[in-house]
Symmetry: C2
């Protein structure tokens, strides 16, 4: 497919939807798309090499999140990791318990929870405040003896708000529940340590930190009971059958290695770029509103509502920019974001929101261009709707 | 990882375990590992291009198996496709019915079946004859009113035997059951047409026909009831959530396109190579036994028992050859193959079996070298165990 279509390559500020692959990650994969094609289960040199590569990748992931290699289970996506963590915990612990999640979870957490609720599990959905943070008093009330699992995301995909996971894990453990953390938007962007968080289960996604789509992993703390949700030939400690996706697993490992090396510097750089973008926009657009929790936010995420124009209309007027309105999971939908609604934002403010998410390849130049283009389009739209 | 280790690159006759990627498939993927990183759900040019690439791949898969594009659901592996087909059929049809599979299914079919049996489903396991073919009279007896699902593989991974699927599908449909076909070892190797087979559900695996590990698909005939087994943001018609693995899906599409173009010629070439290998071995090794059904076998699969020596010992004596003893799914195991046992082979003959599986990059020269090396190692082992 021709990449140089008429549409061109707009400035990409949609890193929370998916990241480009880091060219170093692609380089690391290539040998496993060429000579290194063995099946890790095969007992010959092709198999042995593939097996060793998978083991090395597992160690890199573990190192990034403070886990042991044996606690990392590779999956085909973060969605699968979330399903395994949630359905697998419910299946192994039996029926009739209580589940707790937040009101702003990704569908790959919210939907398995709803599925279990349909099977008779009790489900408590924790409210969030105006910044998108789970209300701890509500959590303390909801998480009680008889709770089987608490699942709360570490960082929100739309507004970037970071949750008080350690406190929630404390509540979960006091109640005898397991703590699952969907860290798909956090791993590789902020420090993630499974012990500091108190996570028993933690999900990560390759394509959110410069590895390809189609690979994820779930951390399963040693001793945490978990049942498989698919059945086959016993791969991944019996928890996830299927021949290992060696090239993608190697890519995930390399992405983890790079993230660990570069995390601190990259966080500072992105925070500065994001703040610059916000400053430029605020200067040009009176009444611009920032959605989220400024003091607990992913460094590269900026969710802003532009006064007087729906987000999708504004984006459509700026074809030189690729960004997102609500969650990126459904194409062509202009429905209001559930996350912003749960934060108590008015329908108008939610509809006016844009998510601008920055990443490793975002430059100061791009940020300036994006801010100018958005400001100009906003001004033009205002002129049309309010002729002098 | 260095590919030129001391172990070198033995002759690869283990295509049924996994195939190398076709270099043309790698070329097709590369743009989607580089510039084409958009999320197919994103409503901007990056997303639109990725979405179009997925659609194009879907059409190629459909064309290869005589399906409509909308009947193809991408998964992370054939194992996942088998699980979705089997568990998803059971879930949507309710509890208490009867399931039927053969005695020589891959664990990714046999294990979901066993899981459902543990939930109270009745499970009938069809016996096979000495060539590995399902016995139709036994099938006719087992498949009755109240049967929910019949699942039989199209071609066996160990001996290559091709099953009478159309006849089994006839029995299934007469009983009101759905017919699932695990065609992981067949697609790309022999003609597969979902209508000719009478399949309602059919599984295929990327890494068995020159696409990467980590991608598969399941054909779901229009109107076939199926429930999702994972839950999330509604991808793949609501049947398989998770951001699409665009590079691997593109690879699968390209592999399908190539397979369709080259299938007839390649089948003839492989059949000739396989027959040459068999002839060389039979000429050098009196008492060599071929396992399987000669007149209904994958063109590139040769399963043979060498008299007087266990397969793994013989393979260990021929480091210049990469092949397999039993199923390749578990490293380091020397347990007898369940498939050969189900065919009624003696324990000795089963333990003496080697699976030599050929593919697109196998040459006449390699086949000759492999035959000579195996014959020489067999002769040497005989001399040791029966000194003159």
């Amino acid at each position: 497919m021709n990449m140089d279509t008429k549409t061109g390559n707009p400035i990409y500020l949609d890193y929370n939807a998916t990241t480009p692959l880091d060219p170093r990650v692609v380089e690391a994969m290539l040998p496993w798309l060429r000579g290194g094609y063995g099946n890790p289960s095969s007992d010959h040199p092709y198999g042995h090499r593939a097996r060793a590569a998978v083991a090395e990748a597992r160690a890199h992931i573990a190192a990034l999140i403070g886990a042991k290699a044996g606690e990392i289970i590779f999956t085909g996506s973060a969605t699968e990791a979330n399903n395994l963590a949630i359905l697998g915990t419910a299946r192994v612990r039996g029926k009739g318990g209580k589940l707790v999640c937040s009101a702003i979870e990704h569908p790959s957490v919210a939907q398995p929870m709803q599925h279990l609720a349909g099977e008779g599990w009790q489900l408590a959905v924790l409210p969030v405040d105006a910044g998108g943070q789970v209300l701890l008093p509500a959590a303390a009330q909801a998480i009680s003896t008889g709770t089987t699992l608490v699942s709360v995301m570490l960082a929100n995909n739309e507004v970037g708000t970071i949750q008080p996971i350690a406190a929630l894990a404390g509540l979960a453990h006091a109640a005898g529940a397991a703590m699952h953390v969907d860290a798909a938007q956090a791993v590789g962007k902020i420090p993630v340590d499974v012990d500091a968080l108190g996570a028993d289960l933690l999900t990560l996604a390759g394509h959110k930190f410069y590895a390809p789509k189609g690979v994820g992993a779930v951390f399963v703390r040693s001793g945490t009971p978990l049942a498989a949700i698919q059945f086959g030939a016993g791969h991944e400690g019996g928890l996830r059958p299927g021949t290992e996706n060696v090239p993608h697993i190697v890519a995930l490992g390399e992405a983890a290695r790079l993230a660990k090396l570069e995390l601190e510097a990259e966080m500072a750089r992105l925070r500065q770029l994001r703040d610059t973008l916000q400053r430029h926009l605020a200067a040009a657009i009176p009444g611009l509103l920032v959605n989220g929790q400024a003091d607990a936010c992913l460094p590269g995420t900026l969710n802003v509502s532009f006064p007087g124009i729906e987000g999708w209309r504004l984006l459509a007027a700026v074809p030189e920019l690729a960004a997102s309105t609500g969650s990126a999971c459904h194409a062509g939908q202009h429905a209001a974001s559930g996350v912003l609604g749960a934060m108590g934002l008015s329908a108008g403010r939610a509809a006016a929101a844009l998510r601008l998410s920055l990443g490793r390849f975002t430059t100061l130049d791009e940020v300036g261009t994006a801010a100018r283009a958005l400001s100009a389009a906003w001004g033009a739209a205002r002129t049309v709707s309010n002729p002098a």
